[in-house]
């Protein structure tokens, strides 16, 4: 006689160590297997887009810090670039190089956080995460030299940066970049060919390239599925057209590929920064942009390759000192579209790892 079974619905979160913040998954299980998933979020909604309508263009920079709080520099960059495009503001070359250095440092830091937490969710409790955080800490020290803050940086302004890098920033950056490949080797030695990691992540949570493109997935998640698309190559902003780097891609689109793509991207970022250090010219770091930017009436969309994917700002100006509308195209938010397709059919323990590999930051999802 068959045993009578019925599906069970469980709430994961909003307070759950594996959800990177306040995120709730309503999961329906058949035994241990996931049959349906419904993400529920909004717990961290602060109305950033509405707040932006009441602030001047310069003040909004501080709001962007709080979107993806593991990658404030990238958020700053995406936002100030949109304002510059809208207002036709020029940026000095030195500032452009410094911006690229900051964005790439931030990419390394953000990928460290992402990999560390993914390993934590695999059950490697504490140790690998602390390795990742040790390295990230050194990058945050550099940011502290630049602007005095470590997380909410607000280092960029429409037309340039708030201040030039201090004298002792350059040797510190040089030393870090010299030792960074070694740090990444250490991490890879622990993880890349680790048998448990391989068993738990290979062929788990696959996204096909067709689904990734159709679901507007961007960033390392898209490239892990084998789609070669990086805005730094496709639409070289700032000075990326003068720098040599490769865009790593995966083949399977599984959790392991998403990890590998991130590790390789970190190595490429080191390459980019080293070239920037060699090429950076002297000169001003801020153009003559007025404090109250008044762009002409119009709208503009501009996007950069943030650590999580395409981070875009759609700004509408009515000629005043604050934007009429400021829409944020947050990569983590849109990457969640395919979450259900990744999770259905896997077990509870895999669910946590797959979700970890999507690298979702709730500050950006909820805005």
């Amino acid at each position: 006689m068959a045993i009578k079974t019925e599906p069970i619905t469980i709430n994961m979160g909003p307070q759950h160590p594996s959800t990177h913040g306040v995120f709730r998954l309503r999961v329906t299980f058949d035994g241990e297997v996931v049959v349906d998933v419904e993400p529920v979020f909004g717990y961290l909604h602060r109305g950033t887009e509405k707040l932006a309508e009441e602030r001047t263009y310069v003040q909004i920079v501080t709001l962007t810090d709080r979107l993806d709080y593991t990658a404030s520099m990238s958020n700053n960059l995406a936002y100030v670039r949109s304002v510059e495009k809208l207002g036709g503001i020029e940026v000095p070359e030195r500032a452009q190089y410094l911006r690229v250095i900051c964005a790439e440092l931030q990419r390394i830091a953000s990928h460290f956080v992402s990999i560390g937490f993914m390993l934590q969710e695999l059950g490697a409790f504490g140790t690998p995460l602390m390795y990742c955080f040790r390295e990230r800490e050194r990058i945050l020290d550099l940011f502290e030299m630049l602007c005095g803050a470590r997380i909410t940086l607000s280092y960029m302004r429409p037309g340039g940066l708030i201040q030039d890098a201090p004298e002792d920033f350059w040797p510190a950056l040089g030393i870090l970049m010299e030792s960074m490949p070694e740090y990444i080797d250490d991490l890879e030695g622990l993880v890349t060919s680790n048998e448990i990691v391989l068993a738990r992540t290979r062929d788990v949570g696959i996204i096909s390239p067709e689904l990734a493109v159709n679901g507007s997935v961007t960033g390392p998640m898209l490239r892990a599925s084998g789609v070669q698309w990086d805005l730094r190559k496709a639409n070289p902003y700032e000075v990326y057209d003068r720098l040599e780097f490769d865009v790593p891609i995966g083949y399977q689109g599984d959790t392991y590929d998403r990890y590998l793509v991130r590790v390789q991207e970190m190595r490429e970022s080191v390459r980019i920064i080293e070239q920037c250090i060699k090429q950076i010219p002297g000169g001003a770091i801020q153009s003559e942009a007025p404090f109250f930017v008044r762009p002409p009436v119009g709208d503009v969309y501009d996007a950069i390759e943030a650590p999580k994917g395409e981070l875009g700002f759609y700004l509408v100006s009515d000629g005043g000192i604050s934007p009429y509308r400021c829409k944020i195209r947050a990569p983590s938010f849109i990457n969640l579209t395919v979450l259900r397709d990744m999770l259905v059919g896997w077990k509870l323990a895999d669910l946590v790892v797959i979700f970890g590999s999507t690298d979702v930051v709730l500050g950006e999802v909820d805005r």
Binding site: K50, S216, E310, Y314, V316, F333
Partner: protein, 147 residues
């Protein structure tokens, strides 16, 4: 460099295949009648020489007399972008066809627009609030929203 498909030229291409669907156009964007938005977007996605396979961003703006829904499309193969807009007059009972059957990526973004702007998307598989809770009064990104 990513090229922007100029709105005026895009309007010409659309006009050839879907006559009378263009409401207005400028260099930046082509503005489509909301009733025909779905077929025009399907055409832009499927046409071999346009190939807009990605819905990069979807948003809405409240211009008080009318609402504007804005589609940012991207073709990875051709490295081009284009901007399509649709204008919805009035403030009550706003509806526009959903494009979730063309692009899965629209799913969460359409729900967000309903939540914050109050524009309903017809035939969306799960049209409910996303960032705020069910029962929240009003749609906060509207210009007439009062706390």
């Amino acid at each position: 460099m990513t090229k922007l498909f100029v709105g005026t030229e895009l309007a010409k291409v659309i006009e050839l295949n879907h006559p009378d669907s263009i409401a207005d156009h400028s260099d930046a964007a082509a503005i489509i009648h909301p009733g025909q938005i779905h077929e025009v977007l399907a055409f832009l996605k499927q046409a071999e020489d346009l190939d807009f396979q990605v819905l990069s961003a979807l948003t809405a703006v409240d211009y008080i007399e009318y609402f504007e829904v804005i589609y940012h499309l991207l073709s990875m193969r051709r490295n081009t972008r284009c901007v399509i807009k649709a204008r919805l007059p009035g403030r009550e009972e706003l509806t526009i066809p959903s494009v979730t059957d063309l692009w899965r990526g629209a799913e969460l973004q359409e729900r967000e627009i309903w939540d914050l702007m109050g524009i309903k998307f017809e035939d969306h598989p799960n049209m409910k609030r996303i960032l705020l809770w069910e029962g929240f009064p009003g749609h906060p990104l509207r210009k007439d929203f009062i706390r």
